[in-house]
Symmetry: C2
Subunit: 333 residues, 2 copies
Amino acid sequence: MNPTIKDVAQRAGVSVGTVSRVLAKNKTVNEDIRTKVEATIEAIGYRPNILGRSLRLAKTDIIGLVVPDITNPFFAELAKHVEMLASAEGYSVLLANTHDDPEAEKQQIETLLGRLPAGLILVPVSNSLVDNLVIGTRTVTVDRPLSGHALVAVDNRQGGYLAADHLLSLGHRRIGYISGPGTTEVSSERRDGFLRRLDAFRETHGGEYIAPQIVEGHFDYRSGEELGKQLLMQPAATRPTAIATSSDQQAIGLLRAAGDMGVRVPNDLSIVGFDDIPLASLVQPRLTTIRQPIDEMARLALEGVLGSHALEEEYKLQPVLMRRGSCTSPSAP
Amino acid sequence: MNPTIKDVAQRAGVSVGTVSRVLAKNKTVNEDIRTKVEATIEAIGYRPNILGRSLRLAKTDIIGLVVPDITNPFFAELAKHVEMLASAEGYSVLLANTHDDPEAEKQQIETLLGRLPAGLILVPVSNSLVDNLVIGTRTVTVDRPLSGHALVAVDNRQGGYLAADHLLSLGHRRIGYISGPGTTEVSSERRDGFLRRLDAFRETHGGEYIAPQIVEGHFDYRSGEELGKQLLMQPAATRPTAIATSSDQQAIGLLRAAGDMGVRVPNDLSIVGFDDIPLASLVQPRLTTIRQPIDEMARLALEGVLGSHALEEEYKLQPVLMRRGSCTSPSAP
DNA sequence: TTGTCAACATGAAACGTTTCATCGTCCGGA
DNA sequence: TCCGGACGATGAAACGTTTCATGTTGACAA
């Protein structure tokens, strides 16, 4: 087996406690002894056993990351940033998928907590069963709130607001909105922000106002495609000239539906997405979308989990509108 | 702190060894005692401490998963399947990204091994510095080979072959190929298979044969877009009527380049991808591609890592051609 | 009654750390 | 010369398991 701290102590002619203090680096230890110990460590290639240390300290240097589905580009991006930052600090990331199933989430989190992680970064499912895990483990939720826990998220209302504002300012009046699942706070916030801007418009331009057409589904490609078809299969006179979505995946699905139905983007239809996943700037046309600063979110979440200061209630970040090719002014009727 | 096995023992009036045997489930232990112990476990809500157990057994129930970039849909898909299967067996997955940097890979794997994982699933980088880790940890590589380790991968040659065969049978003669980085075995195998089919065609139809135009770059979207532009900015007379790529990401980048340049797919240009990532069937038009059975690959890799039988040298899986909308016969000149 | 054996529980050691109370040594001051 | 302290090393305990050699019990045969 690998050499242990005992071997080092014996070989260097000191006690294990001393070796441990050398490793801890910061304490009072005689210079001669320190160098001798360091030399023997080098000589026999000693590597501390993390398990022993973790047992003693009753905590590990592992961070749990729980997401609905790592296949979702948004969460993949989050995972990448979390992992990069964590490994730079000497932490490792334990990954778990919940598939948006509260039961699975509970299960996953329970086994995760059994491993005594240094902290937990969690994207909770819609109606999570998990609310009592504050105790003992520093936890930060990302993107979606969970009562009693710190939340790192973009200001979704503001995001929806920006989308509506952009479409209105381009001159669109017949507007559609593809919402996420009504049960999630994220969805309703985005939609609320969107509608708030529209309401404000009605106040000032009552005459021109046309109530938006709203449909609702999941955040994924498929849902965007189906709901898109639903919105687009109207006669051109009533069909929206612009549709905003609550995720880029929906927007890309919508793009595909439009393509299938011969509706040209952006000439016949403007589209605004949400998230700014990498793919958004690669589809054809490039997607105008509301960007979430994921790198920043990952940084804040990790800082919250590892930092020593008390956790804030909420870290709200500002979304920003990315103008690309999928929006233009509506063509004259 | 949480109750320990000692608390259980004390409360149930037995020794810790007995409790341990009850937990191990399989051994000889008196029925009355077993039920009493189980009752007290239930009563005080005892959960075994994984750290203690791991230290004693000198191994954990963690599986290391090392990929170049979790943001790549192919690896995300792999991670999802690995994680699902692993957690069903009671294992957890530790995620690490290498960003295709040999140094980072070495670093990541070293810290991972320090955690004494039950096994390691590795997608090695191009010229990996890691070749001595067979010792001690069961390791399976996926997608790309690493000398001395078991490999789970699709038959890349066959994949390239299928792509070429499909394009030829549609009637294409002026064919382009976007290869992955020449340094990777995966790339060269796919290209070899592709060219082998073309050579076979030359044998039989010498007169019609036109040498393929081959360009080479990374596997990502951006590369596909750039190389695509390069191939397409020729006069229509010499420009390929069909292009095969070595990844779906390249193909999607190519799709975008074609769109930008007014080249219609599939009318003016047929495209074949490789991998069949979820997105492939959502772009416009849907991508004809060579499918890798990722779920199967994840299953085999995990089985190899956790199974007790000796590891095979190689597990080769068969790719399959997915016919979708991005290919058709070339239009008359 | 005694001896043997099976069945099963027990206690202690071991895994590799960290930490804390203790102890030795050395130096300066009285 | 002796004492008090400072400095720093030591040894042992503790973290929560598993396992193994040992011990205890009871039943049954002789």
